[in-house]
Symmetry: C2
Subunit: 454 residues, 2 copies
């Protein structure tokens, strides 16, 4: 009987746990699977938390895909509220916060990521100031519901960071009638090219938010132990609440000195089967993933990668051969508040990444329509397409637009997955009917325009 110890009871860890038991049923491996997690929740959708805060989702329970009880019913030992504090690979031991030592034959690290907490967010005793917090766990979500409830609809929140979480929480706050300021170091929404970033910023402003670009938060004004304002390079404003959405880091502190190899920023770098080194496996937000286009390691803490890599890991650990083939850097979100509605998506490399990887990239931005122009539902859509001049290879696509814009990125992601060219994207057989597209889908018009410039 192999003792498998999984640290982390969310997407990657629980996908791995279930898949290894399924696969073991076929391969005949005998596995005793124990999962530990410092929290009390399992298999929940962290991506859904902004929609819980906004009121679109009724309850935090709705975000839980499977409870601990359901996992136990599948034959998995679940030890929640249990934090790992140290590991010893040579001894194959994991030490818990209460001093207990667990032995393992195989260790699966699926601890995910934790929010970056700046110094200025903490009080003298190192605790988060009241009214300040990240949006990462179900507990964070519950805390934000309480904070927004208490502050009321006339209050103001400053969101630090304009990544997807920043944009989604801005949407949630605006829907609750709370004033919003977004402050970011960047030029706009982090993962888009300048040609498209501005449209996101404009939509947020049209919805009543204030957007402060290229600014670094320097500190908070604290009155009577509560946040009263936020100061940044070049400005300040009164505020009741502060959302920390400036990034996350892998939760791998307990592996320091363990003998498990960590990447330069504390990430694990498992192979497509989830193997890190002998007896150690990892998947999910504590890992970097392999980007197929430039064969580089990137940190993309997303539930969809965690689910896939976790499943491949579980299968491989139990003797199967499923592999996670890496990413093409695809993502999607939306900004929908106060009459504004934008879908935002990207796949592939940015211009800077393409240059860094040695490509000779050509980019064109194209304006079009999500449906045939004469249809009442037709909305504007902007596409940015990037290709390599000598090989004509498609390198990246970014899109912003109305309903139906976002998931259009999937066809481009499929071309990237296959290493296809911009001509493939331009000429392939995408679905056309007036409610859904123009006769040349706008994705293909955009690809054709790049093709003509190579």
């Amino acid at each position: 009987m192999q003792r498998v110890l999984i640290v982390g009871a969310d997407a990657a860890g629980m996908s791995a746990a279930h898949q290894m038991l399924r696969t073991a049923g076929g391969t005949g491996r005998e596995l005793a699977v124990t999962v530990i997690d410092r929290g009390q929740h399992t298999s929940y959708s962290a991506c859904g938390i902004p929609y819980w805060i906004s009121g679109e989702v009724d309850s935090g329970d709705d975000l839980v895909a499977r409870t601990a009880e359901e996992h136990r019913d599948a034959g998995i030992e679940m030890r929640l509220g249990t934090e790992a504090v140290a590991a010893d690979l040579a001894a194959r031991e994991l030490t818990l916060a209460d001093g207990e030592v667990l032995e393992f034959d195989e260790l699966v690290v699926a601890t995910g990521a934790e929010a970056l907490i700046p110094e200025w967010a903490l009080d003298a005793s190192g605790e988060l100031l009241p009214g300040v917090g990240p949006v990462k766990t179900l507990n964070d979500g519950a805390a934000w519901l309480d904070r927004f409830e208490e502050a009321g609809s006339g209050s103001h929140v400053v969101i630090v960071g304009a990544g997807y979480i920043g944009v989604e929480v801005a949407e949630a706050a605006l829907r609750r009638g709370v004033g919003v300021t977004v402050v970011t170091r960047g030029h706009g929404l982090a993962s888009l090219e300048p040609a498209l970033q501005e449209r996101v910023s404009l939509a947020m402003c049209d919805a009543g938010a204030e957007v402060v670009l290229e600014a670094e938060v320097t500190g908070l004004d604290v009155v009577d132990g509560r946040v009263a304002g936020v100061r940044w390079t070049g400005g300040e404003r009164e505020a009741d609440l502060v959302v920390l959405a400036a990034g996350v880091r892998p939760a791998t502190g307990f592996l320091a000195g363990s003998g498990v190899p960590l990447g330069p920023r504390g990430h694990l770098r498992p192979d497509p089967h989830g193997r890190v080194c002998e007896h150690v496996w990892a998947a999910g937000d504590c890992c970097e993933v392999r980007r197929r286009l430039d064969d580089s390691w990137v940190f993309r803490p997303l539930g969809t990668h965690a689910n896939k890599h976790g499943r491949a890991l579980g299968d491989s650990l139990a003797g199967g051969s499923l592999a996670f083939g890496g990413v093409t850097d695809t993502s999607v979100t939306r900004f929908a508040a106060c009459e504004e509605y934008l879908e935002i998506a990207r796949t592939g490399l940015s211009l800077a990444e393409a240059n860094a990887a040695g490509f000779d990239p050509v980019a064109v931005t194209t304006e079009g329509s999500t449906a045939s122009g004469y249809m009442p539902d037709a909305d504007p859509i902007s596409l940015w397409v990037l290709a390599d001049r000598p090989t004509r290879r498609l390198l990246g696509v970014q899109v912003i637009g109305g309903r139906g814009a976002g998931k259009r990125i999937d066809a481009a992601a499929a071309v990237l997955w296959h290493g296809g060219t911009v001509d493939d994207l331009a000429w392939m057989d995408l679905a056309y009917a007036p409610p859904f597209a123009t006769a040349w889908d706008v994705l293909q018009v955009a690809a054709r325009r790049v093709a003509e410039r190579l």
Copy 2:
């Protein structure tokens, strides 16, 4: 100066005309381009006609992408209201209905398709009975607006045929408050597998339509020279109007005896550059197209193929090298009336086609959600996925569901374009966020379920 004569002023012909002039600007070819068309309209969206009839589109003019005047401004000679009745390839001559003979160096056939008109739809003099007609041209659309207007909202229409046009016209009639009966020889919506067909039929019934399957219309009841009822094998009903939507055929009658090679059903079979034989080119709905999956000729009269093949033809004729790489048999439509909303799409082979092509196909139908289940916009979606057992190659995907279901087919179409496997579809990097997908997109869940059965 090469005399190029294009017969047909719609998507294929006008795409070809404009592209050959653009390309000639670079290659230095000198082209005199003349377009003739028996109608008075150019470059219009036939696919948009049902939405004009429904009232979603205000005017037939909205469906015209470019007018004759705009084409003339680009240097193209437009001769409308001019019908070609015969051709002589050896003499390079085209004869018009008025007896005039036009000489050409290159002939481009882009005459499209014409509706099949059954004998029972005609009066003794061979004219369409009042209240009966197809939905193919702008003139047809205008006639239908008049007929629905005259018949009023209490009237009843029988639609003969349950292809995409049949479904779309049913939607239009229901939206106008007209009673609808759809009669088809088939088991349901023509281009879907039985597993999904039933959902379309049920949605149409829930919207108040009557659906009669596996029935052949045998004749009309005519009272005072007008339609009063429709009879079919096994039934009949009173009706004021009859839509002929049981198919189209290539409008190539004028090529009989011309020396231009025609396929078994009167279709042209141009190569990827639009070449049929020396001095003759063709594209659009008068042609069959090459299906990549089984390398077969199929008749798929769709505007998107006409636009693409027309452009490749125009470029090639003028010395360029653009090629139309064939189709993967992708299409999409919707049925949206009386609180019902369904998006319907397919790509690739049917089970019967896969068997006929010598594959060893495995199909699985999967139920899922268009968005994360806890989101208010999440709608049911059903996917049918077909793969080849020995090679694991993806062969086809069909989908039915709520908003966001239809264009999901594009990612599958991209995999088919590249000859990818069901594993590619299952593991590639599709966009995930709760408003748009589940953590494993339902397309990937469906692919995975097939992969597990191979």
